[in-house]
């Protein structure tokens, strides 16, 4: 399920969240996390179809959940979680 070595994401392929560039936006597609981690981060707002943008790359990284109308929050995410979140990059 996880794309192999996607270091140069284009706008249509699904990539790992940690493969985005800083400032790049994406839509969450799916995750390959265990049930407990998946439930937690979904409850924090990182659910399928949520619009996100990467604020800081690294371990941990910072991702902003962008709600409509300026709503949203920032979440510090450990690298293992960011590696298992698949996103579709947006322009």
């Amino acid at each position: 399920m996880m794309p192999a070595d996607t270091t140069h994401p284009d706008s249509t392929a699904q990539v790992r969240l940690c493969d985005l560039r800083v400032g790049q936006s994406a839509r969450i597609h799916a995750d390959t996390l265990d049930a407990e981690d998946a439930a937690t981060i979904r409850a924090m707002g990182l659910r399928p179809n949520a619009s996100v943008s990467l604020c800081r790359l690294g371990s941990p990284c910072i991702v902003r959940v962008d709600g409509r109308g300026g709503c949203g929050c920032r979440i510090g995410l450990a690298r293992p979680l960011a590696e298992r979140l698949l996103v579709t990059p947006l322009h």
Binding site: A39, T40, C55, G70, G72, R74, L77
Partner: protein, 664 residues
């Protein structure tokens, strides 16, 4: 995900009697600020039975009606398989209640929502509405939403949810009166959101669409947060800023706490003196003055530092910085099997391990939480400071620079051994991959002093209750062991007193000096002959490899339950006085000799004692809290055995190495 509780009947809350309201919401929504606004100091703190989740129950009056408010733990979802969510589910279903309360569903639920993050917060609103309880939704933190250009149509939101919605800014008090009124007329919502996850997501989208007025994000604000985050979460700059913030925090802590600590010391000294002057000499006066008052004073004296630490941590937390500090520290702590969440408990333990261990509840991963609890007491707490102060004075008399260096080294030793111990625990008894960190970084904002003061008041009371009672009991036992059996004074004391009587007329100053010398010799003899003295002599062979004689062994044994007792015990054993603040007593301690003329505190024993006191577990209240928070006395036993074992071995290594090098 767990199953949803079946809807109950649609009865509205009773119109009379105490109105029981549960406060529910995501973390960082200002729920506790609202609780403080509603109840102020009228609340009690305990635990939900069978859990380590703290429960706060507050009381207020709305009109003529008594209202009880239960502050539930902040949760992202009611359906998570986590302790906090389980407690919330239990309270809403009437199956769980704070200690001492009857388990019954609340009459109303007040759901606190962050206006700047409405979409995510609506999910928990939906989950709560499914419970079919009378509900009021509070849209809080309007200031942050307004700064971002967000506009929420409260009326349309109320329509969409089918319950009353109140806009507020709990921090400034805006909207509190409206919330109080709304609570008394809370009704079962007319809408019931779908029970499945996809259905709930679609429901949230629909409600959000209705309630939010389209607006563009405040780009300037976002870039301001970005800029701050770029600095505070940077791998290097973030660490430098973190070091600067922590240095400032501890500077303020030690600088400002000195005055009230001296004041408390003086007040308790006066109370003890007052008791001794009012009551006739004997068991009662001695026990009250030297057991009860000294014991309470020994605990209360650390309160200023603890209050200040809580206040500063609360303020830092309120600004949004503490989450960034945990984020930065995650990188540093992860190699040792801990997570960023462990940072606040370890930081708090620098004032006192009790609140530090209690705050480990916020660590979601069980193994990381247990590892943090086990190693938190390695952090240098306030109780170690008098011992450090004595030993660095012994090691570097008149050299404040070197004393400061030794002090700093002691702090560092505690941190290093704690991290290595955590690593060992995570590789052995707590083996397994830790849950990776997912941590919300709340918006930066100016802190609320009132809210911080109320939180500080609450936590300080918990500390006083927990530490004061146990330490008081220990102090009385220690006093008894150190005071009994009562023995006759030695012969030379009697002759000194006789000489003093003869000198009173001709040389009153010499007579007074002789009396003081006789008093000191008598007190010293009494301690040596006491049960504690006998225990010291019995256990001395155990401490022989560390270079401690029987007198130091008494000091170490007496401080088994509370380490700060070491200084006053040594002062009594060596000089017959217990005022360790007295420069004369400190000099007496530094230069004290054994009966063969060799010094009690050699360089080797002082270094060894310093290492021992940095690392040893000598605090009964901490063990009690560890047992409760970790879920059993075996963890407290492990903590005691490991810390004391490491302290013993390293102190022995220090003594033997220094002896080999010819330092004594």
């Amino acid at each position: 995900m767990t199953a949803t509780v079946a809807p109950t009947d649609d009865a509205s809350p009773p119109e009379a009697g105490v109105l029981r309201v549960a406060l529910l919401g995501n973390p960082n929504t200002g729920k506790t600020t609202l609780f403080n606004r509603l109840c102020g100091l009228r609340h009690k703190t305990s635990n939900f039975p069978g859990t380590t989740q703290e429960s706060r129950v507050g009381f207020t009056c709305i009109g003529s009606r008594d209202v009880e408010v239960i502050d539930l733990p902040g949760v992202y979802s009611l359906e998570l398989d986590q302790s906090e969510s389980s407690v919330c589910r239990g309270v809403l279903a009437g199956q769980t209640a704070p200690k001492g309360e009857a388990a019954q569903p609340p009459d109303a639920v007040c759901i606190v929502v962050d206006a700047s993050n409405l979409a995510r917060n609506l999910a928990i609103v939906g989950e709560a509405l499914r419970r079919r309880l009378a509900t009021v939704v509070v849209i809080n933190m309007q200031d942050i939403a307004a700064r971002r250009g967000l506009r929420i149509d409260v009326e349309r939101l109320s329509e969409a949810l089918g319950c009353e919605v109140v806009a507020s800014q709990a921090r400034s008090g805006e909207g509190i009166a409206a919330i109080r009124e709304a609570l008394t007329r809370a009704r079962i919502p007319t809408d019931t959101p779908p029970g499945d996850e996809d259905g709930l997501v679609a429901w949230v989208d629909r409600v959000y669409e209705k309630a939010i007025a389209p607006a563009s994000m405040d780009v300037a604000r976002a870039s301001f947060t970005d800029r701050l985050d770029r600095a505070f979460t940077h791998p290097i700059i973030g660490l430098v800023l973190f070091a600067a913030v922590m240095t400032g925090l501890f500077w303020v802590l030690f600088r400002l706490a000195t005055v009230p600590m001296d004041l408390i010391d003086g007040v308790f000294g006066s109370i003890a003196a007052g008791i001794e002057s009012v009551l006739p000499p004997g068991f009662l006066a001695d026990m009250l003055a030297n057991g009860v008052v000294a014991g309470v004073g020994a605990t209360v004296i650390f309160l200023p530092q603890i209050v200040l630490l809580f206040l500063l941590i609360s303020l830092l937390e309120d600004t949004g910085y503490l989450a960034r500090a945990a984020f930065v520290m995650d990188r540093a702590l992860r190699p040792f099997g801990l997570a960023g969440h462990s940072f606040v408990p370890l930081l708090s333990s620098h004032a006192c391990a009790l609140p530090g261990i209690m705050s480990a509840r916020m660590i979601p991963d069980r193994r990381q939480r247990l590892a943090t609890i086990l190693v938190a007491p390695f952090m240098t707490c306030s109780a170690r400071l008098p011992v450090y102060a004595l030993l660095v004075t012994v090691l570097f008399p008149g050299r404040p620079g070197m004393q400061a260096l030794a002090f700093t080294g002691s702090y560092a030793l505690g941190v290093v051994v704690a991290l290595l111990s955590a690593l060992l625990a995570r590789r052995t008894i707590l083996r397994g991959e830790g849950r990776p960190m997912a941590l919300e970084l709340p918006a930066y904002r100016l802190p609320s002093l009132k809210s911080a003061l109320l939180t500080t008041w609450d936590r300080s009371l918990v500390f006083l209750r927990k530490a004061g009672t146990v330490i008081l009991a220990i102090s009385v036992v220690l006093w008894w062991l150190g005071s009994y059996p009562i023995v006759d004074p030695p012969e030379d004391v009697a002759s000194m007193r006789a000489q003093a009587s003869a000198l009173v007329a001709t040389s009153p100053e010499d007579a007074a000096a002789l009396v003081a010398e006789a008093d000191a010799a008598e007190a010293s003899h009494a301690v040596r002959a006491s049960f504690m003295g006998r225990i010291g002599r019995t256990v001395q062979p155990v401490f022989e490899p560390l270079g401690y004689d029987w007198q130091l062994s008494i000091g170490v044994m007496a401080s088994f339950a509370a380490r700060e007792v070491f200084v006053s015990t040594m002062a009594v054993v060596v000089s017959g006085q217990d005022d360790a603040e007295d420069e004369g007593v400190l000099t007496a301690l530094r230069t004290a000799q054994r009966s063969d003329g060799t010094p009690i505190f050699t360089t080797a024993t002082a270094w060894s004692l310093l290492v021992y006191y940095v690392l040893a577990m000598q605090c009964l209240p901490t063990l009690a809290v560890t047992a409760r928070e970790a879920g059993g006395w075996k963890w407290a036993g492990l903590q005691l055995g490991w810390m004391t074992g490491v302290a013993y071995v390293l102190a022995m290594v220090v003594t033997q190495t220094l002896r080999l090098l010819g330092v004594s």
